[in-house]
């Protein structure tokens, strides 16, 4: 993209050839020889022999390379944009660009600009151009991630303070108080960003940088990307908000197109891997936070199609469309808007705009819903040729006929042609009553030969087959779809009604575990949905193979009307929906609606009083609450509003709550859930199920009671009471062993001490006891930020490695959660395992990076915390910091990692 460019008419070498050696030049042009010109920066004084080496006479053309002979009779060949000497194959000169000249007197001729003298290929002391190595590293092609940008900037600018300077400019925008209610206009934001960019660029470029123009372009792109990467969290949020309704509509369309295949789009792919790898590339678009990074992601996607050699340009758009459908992302227009709005340097670059236009065209095409009508026309297809219901395994034609009749049936269903469907089904149904011995009948048929397939015989067999093929109302095809499934699939209301009247199995599951109700919910047929529920009492609660209920499916596909229908129906029959129901990804209905950005559904769900209790704080397998996966600000603020309301009402309950009471009083399950929620509110730690189980099964109730008393005491700040329960005397120096004459002494005085220590130790075992409550005493002390108490506890044998019950976090995790540096240092002093991971695989360093606590990061890293460790999401601490927008930390870690790398390479 950043191709080398220079004005050739000003090139010394070219001038020398054209003006001083016009005859030679004229000959070259008239003979259509190739003219090569070394780039301006390498040309010095030119000799005639050198000139002659730059006039190339074509000699031979092979498939991949062309042989040339220079005017000086040296032989070279052209291969993949490089000139290679025939004598020494390791030497090469690269072609930078080609320019075609049209001149009145001379006509047309071609000139190649190359990066070094061609004659250097034949010299003995050949030194490769030192710039070419740098070129590869800093070519725009290879820049993608924030690491690339940072390292590129630090390579090109010899001043480590630039980043601090950048951050100063950035803080202008970062510290701006943008109101949520009244979002700033995009134009305004763009101007702001532009101003900051100008400042940063002026700062870097004011210093005399001796770089050629291409490096300046790379540097500009890098700085721009760095700045926008850091502003991403603010800007992208507004892009998302601006595009929210478009994305919402697109998401509905994308869900309705889930079953589209490459044949529907007329794409002929011989190698399905190319779509898979393209999807892999494109699905990562949200990991890139700068417009340029996102652009590179799209470009890589398109490039990966190029590996499929049979694809033509006409298929580029369809295949991109297909990749987008299969990506399962929710914010395409937000991404497009973000890239388009915040591209500055490359805005007018033609390749950049070509790729963006292609991407835009694919989105607009999907958005236009043109594809929708077409897929409906192709509709549900029987995919495999083998069928499970084969009547006669000996006769493939029977099978064939079976498929044929099913296809006709499906065709009638699709057209909602009730009479024809009746005819097909009832005829076969009535004939089913008279079983026939097919095999014997076959021999009775008057065929030329039992296996004959001539036209006459064919007709005879077909006739007999027709009367023999049995298709019942609950017939299942190879996808385990019954006629009812198909009727719902096509939204053929009359047929659904008819089939229901025939007492078909309403809860039959197809191959992916979907019942007809699921299909109606996913496809958004409200009338059919209600028909299935009201008249037939379908199982509203059944789940498909991905653990989705009808409610979750319709929340995924974005059908407001079906969500309402489901909930109102449940209300009318007094059924209580479990809104906390999770699918295999741990997502509840609210998660799904929030993720795909369906405003109306989110609004409606939040208006259900129980959802706030059951779902709003639930975390999915990615550890996200519905708020965390909100598609855009508008959705997020809806959820936040609901949470605030819930907290207010919860607060009053909290005052009445007492830990001991909770332990004694038996509570009904509804109440339990409620209490538990408040509990998690207070400590920001939660785990519902294990917590209850443990409480009910706990045997050591006495110890537990004391523990709860101690925890309670610490909670209200009564450390003395807590220590009293623990039997720790703070004033007396703890001296178990030192007071003995000798560690193994058996004298009477010493044995006295021994017995008391034992009893004390018994009590002290409490110190590390983690009962029904989630945490032990030390944990509570850490959570209360009580350093003094922590110190006492640790000195008295509290185990600093103890883990909390639910999330398996150590004290050091908790100290990070509290962002308490003193505590953290204290714990490190006590030799705790600094790299221990919790249930999510997060080390304390991960947590620091997630919440952006820089001081903690530094302390941990300097105490030797492992930087290259991944959590269960596969993210390193650095990536977590990046995800959460803590760029100072990212930079710190990048620096530390490169230092470590340097050290290891030096040693």
């Amino acid at each position: 993209m950043n191709k080398y460019d220079e004005v050739l008419s000003e090139n010394k070498f070219f001038k020398c050839l054209k003006c001083d050696n016009f005859d030679l030049f004229k000959e070259a042009v008239s003979q259509k020889y190739l003219i090569c010109i070394p780039k301006a920066s390498v040309t010095s004084n030119v000799q005639l022999t050198t000139l002659l080496d730059h006039i190339l006479i074509p000699a031979q053309k092979n498939s991949n390379n062309i042989d040339y002979c220079t005017k000086n009779n040296n032989k070279i060949l052209l291969k993949e944009g490089k000139f290679i000497s025939k004598i020494n194959l390791n030497r090469c000169v690269n072609i930078l660009f080609e320019e075609t000249f049209y001149e009145e007197e001379l006509g047309k001729y071609k000139v190649l600009c190359v990066d070094d003298y061609i004659s250097s290929l034949f010299k003995d002391n050949f030194t490769p151009n030192p710039n070419s190595l740098l070129d590869i590293k800093h070519s725009l092609k290879n820049l993608r991630t924030i690491n690339d940008f940072i390292s590129c900037i630090s390579d090109l600018v010899d001043d480590s303070s630039v980043f601090d300077e950048f951050d100063k400019y950035l803080s202008d925008i970062l510290s701006m108080p943008f109101s949520k209610a009244n979002p700033p206009e995009t134009v305004y934001l763009r101007t702001l960003v532009h101003k900051v960019l100008k400042k940063t660029l002026n700062y870097v470029l004011q210093e005399e940088i001796k770089l050629d123009e291409n490096y300046i372009l790379v540097l500009t792109v890098c700085i721009e990307s760095y700045v926008l990467h850091n502003l991403h969290n603010i800007l992208f949020q507004y892009s998302g908000l601006e595009m929210s309704s478009k994305d919402e509509k697109l998401n509905r369309i994308l869900h309705s197109l889930k079953e589209v295949t490459e044949t529907d789009l007329n794409v002929h792919v011989t190698n399905i891997n190319c779509i898979l790898s393209a999807r892999y590339e494109l699905a990562a678009i949200n990991n890139f936070k700068s417009p340029f990074g996102k652009f590179q992601c799209i470009k890589k996607t398109i490039d990966s199609f190029k590996t499929e050699s049979k694809l033509t340009l006409d298929e580029l758009l369809p295949i991109l469309v297909l990749t987008i459908i299969k990506c399962n992302l929710s914010n395409w227009f937000a991404n497009l808007n973000f890239i388009q709005t915040y591209s500055f340097t490359l805005e007018s670059n033609s390749e950049y705009s070509f790729i963006l236009s292609t991407f835009e065209a694919a989105l607009v095409f999907l958005f236009s819903e043109e594809l929708n009508e077409q897929t409906v026309s192709s509709g549900y297809v029987l995919t495999s040729k083998e069928s499970s219901f084969c009547l006669d395994t000996f006769n493939p034609r029977a099978h064939h006929y079976g498929n044929e009749i099913i296809h006709t049936l499906y065709d009638y269903i699709k057209k909602d042609n009730l009479e024809s469907v009746k005819r097909v089904l009832e005829v076969t149904e009535s004939e089913k009553l008279v079983p026939k011995n097919f095999v014997s009948q076959k021999y009775e048929l008057n065929l030329c030969h039992p296996l004959c397939v001539c036209n006459e015989c064919k007709q005879i067999t077909q006739k007999s087959l027709k009367s023999d093929f049995v298709l019942d109302f609950n017939h299942k095809d190879e996808n385990l779809m019954t006629p009812l499934h198909i009727a719902v699939w096509y939204g053929s209301l009359n047929i659904v009604e008819y089939l229901m009247s025939k007492n078909v199995n309403l809860n039959a599951k197809n191959i992916v575990g979907m019942t007809p109700l699921h299909i109606a919910a996913y496809k958004g047929y409200q009338t059919i949905l209600l028909l299935l529920l009201l008249n037939a009492g379908c199982d509203i609660d059944s789940t498909d193979s991905t653990g989705n209920t009808a409610l979750q499916l319709t929340c995924t596909a974005g059908h407001d009307s079906c969500v309402k229908a489901l909930i109102f129906y449940a209300e009318s029959i007094g059924y209580k929906f479990n809104f906390g129901e999770k699918n295999i990804n741990g997502d509840t209905a609210l998660h799904l609606a929030s993720f795909w950005g369906y405003m109306n559904i989110v609004k409606f769900l939040l208006s259900q009083p129980r959802i706030v209790i059951e779902s709003i704080r639930t975390k999915n397998l990615k550890n996200q609450t519905p708020l965390d996966c909100a598609h855009n600000e508008a959705v997020a603020s809806l959820i936040e509003g609901a949470m605030e309301n819930a907290e207010e009402s919860a607060h009053t309950d909290l005052l009445l709550l007492n830990l001991e009471e909770r332990n004694i009083v038996k509570i009904d399950p509804e109440q339990k859930l409620h209490d538990e929620d408040i509990y998690t509110n207070t400590y920001d730690l939660e785990h519902r199920d294990t917590h209850f189980e443990v409480r009910e099964n706990s045997s050591d109730s006495e110890v537990n009671n004391i523990l709860i008393k101690i925890l309670n005491a610490i909670k209200v700040g009564d450390n003395r009471l807590a220590l009293f329960y623990l039997d720790i005397n703070v004033n007396e120096p703890n001296s178990n062993e030192s007071s003995k004459c000798h560690p193994l002494c058996q004298c009477t005085d010493c044995s006295n001490i021994d017995t008391t220590t034992i009893s004390v130790n018994k009590k002290k075992s409490l110190i590390n006891f983690i009962g029904e409550e989630n945490y032990g005493i030390l944990h509570m002390a850490v959570l209360k930020d009580d350093i003094e108490l922590c110190q006492i506890l640790l000195q008295n044998g509290a185990n600093p490695q103890a883990l909390t019950k639910s999330e398996r976090r150590s004290c050091i995790h908790l100290s990070v959660q509290r962002e308490n540096i003193e505590l953290l240092k204290l714990l490190i002093k006590f030799n705790v395992d600094i790299n221990c991971a919790d249930t999510m695989g997060n080390t304390p360093l991960h947590l620091c990076c997630i919440c952006g606590w820089k001081e903690g990061v530094i302390t941990l890293v300097e105490s030797g915390a492992e930087v290259n460790i991944n959590n269960k999401d596969g993210s390193s601490p650095k990536e977590e910091a990046d995800k959460n927008g803590h760029f100072e930390i990212v930079r710190y870690l990048v620096r530390k990692m490169s230092e470590a790398h340097k050290k290891s390479t030096f040693s």
């Binding site: 320019e99 995009t186 300046i216 199609f305 033509t312 340009l313």
Partner: protein
């Protein structure tokens, strides 16, 4: 920004029905290649070419488009901001010439006279199967103010000519435009090229 100190930068878009040989035409022009088979044309969807006409440097960015009818509505995304368009038809296919007429109508309606048009009657190597009359095509082109040329990507006939002529036209228009407006501070690599005075507000899908 059609003109910078490095020369003119023009965007040229190729339009026309599928299978009329748009891609072959570009590949012949830029890479001097031709293949009878349907070759990997994804590579050719975007190509650049540098030319120098009597000392004036011109950078052509050539955008090839899909010919399928179902994508017709996406045309504006491709041809917006174009300086020139080459409309290709197959001389053996009457329909493809009708398509060219549709494109001309649409382009003139959307972009007015700012866009330079050239019409290429491709596949003249198949002269014996000609279905579009020479006179008809030429008079039509003259009517709509487009340069007409018979081309063959196979024999390399007229390919250079049509691009050269279009480039000359585009330079003429660019000159006229720069006469009307005084040239703003010349953009170069050191400055960001941002239009500050008139930030584009509508950056929607079909701008």
């Amino acid at each position: 920004m059609a003109f910078s100190n490095r020369g003119y930068n023009f965007k040229v878009v190729l339009l026309g029905e599928g299978c009329v040989g748009k891609t072959s035409l570009v590949l012949r022009y830029v890479e001097d290649k031709f293949s009878d088979k349907h070759i990997s044309t994804l590579q050719a969807s975007f190509l650049t070419k540098r030319i120098n006409i009597d000392g004036q440097r011109v950078n052509l960015a050539i955008w090839d488009t899909a010919g399928q009818e179902r994508f017709h509505a996406l045309g504006p995304i491709y041809y917006r901001d174009s300086h020139g368009a080459i409309l290709v038809y197959d001389i053996t296919d009457e329909d493809s010439f009708q398509k060219v007429k549709n494109w001309v109508r649409e382009l003139r309606k959307m972009l007015g006279n700012d866009i330079c048009l050239a019409i290429a009657g491709n596949k003249v190597d198949l002269e014996k199967d000609r279905h579009v009359s020479k006179e008809l095509a030429e008079t039509y082109s003259e009517e709509v103010g487009a340069f007409h040329c018979f081309t063959s990507a196979k024999t390399d006939e007229g390919v250079d000519e049509i691009f050269l002529n279009l480039s000359n036209q585009m330079m003429k228009i660019a000159l006229e435009k720069s006469d009307e407006k005084p040239i703003s501070s010349s953009p170069n690599g050191r400055n960001l090229q941002v239009v500050e005075d008139e930030p584009q507000t509508s950056r929607g899908c079909c701008g």
